[in-house]
Symmetry: C2
Subunit: 117 residues, 2 copies
DNA sequence: ACTAATACTCACCTAAAGGTATGTATTATA
DNA sequence: TATAATACATACCTTTAGGTGAGTATTAGT
């Protein structure tokens, strides 16, 4: 697998390429909330604990730039913006779901280990 | 899903928990090389393009601390150390393989898009 | 004139990730 | 006495991720 350039950045392998798209603290949580619903900015903000405006906005912009979500702005006051998964984004759901299940298993196992101690 | 604490750090959801274990530039490449072989430090070093000693060592240590790989040191000169996947680490292979396939698809699609332009 | 909504934007800071370059311990062998 | 092998360690630096807190534009309603 040779190196691959996307948007001016060099990626060493396909896994790294995908990880940058869904990695970090906030991208998976955002994608996950959109898995079967269109959501407004404010809804995402309320649904995702701990996230700040700055983080929500920057991550949404990046997800959009990578073609994983779509953004629809309504010209009303107060503003209204709807975010939804694209086809490309929907394909990620299988992966995220699998990561999530593995994570839940690990957490369960950790709990058991801690009880024994 | 409530917050979860592991090794003094707070995780907001199971996906984030797993992402920290396999995320970053180097962890997936390392795990991938060990998928069906035990490997020595020097072999990993040569097999993974662009990686430095510092990065290889720190990432190996973290993977070991998270119980994803095992480390076996032979008391010989010059030194010899073997790294292998644990059962916990092997379970990750399904996920990494899926991420890899999705990545390969995306890269293919990118190439096509660039040709058209 | 003032406030309420909503979806941002900006300035500033800290911490973590990652890169570069160099050094080290040990023993067999030339 | 010098060198080769191997698996690290260490110091230093730059870049990126992420957090905090405050401000903004627009219009309807009081």
């Amino acid at each position: 697998m040779p190196d691959f350039i996307y948007k001016g950045k060099v990626y060493y392998n396909p896994v790294q390429f995908v990880m940058e798209m869904i990695g970090g603290t906030w991208k998976a949580p955002i994608l996950w909330r959109l898995r079967n619903e269109v959501k407004r900015y404010g809804e995402l903000r309320k649904d995702i604990p701990h996230i700040s405006d700055k983080m929500l906005t920057t991550q949404l912009r990046q997800l959009e730039a990578d073609g994983l979500i779509s953004r629809k702005v309504y010209a009303v006051v107060p503003p209204k913006t709807e975010y939804a998964l694209t086809v490309k984004g929907k394909r990620l759901m299988v992966i995220i779901e699998q990561i999530r299940e593995y994570g839940l298993e690990l957490i369960e196992e950790e709990k058991k280990n801690n009880e024994i101690k």
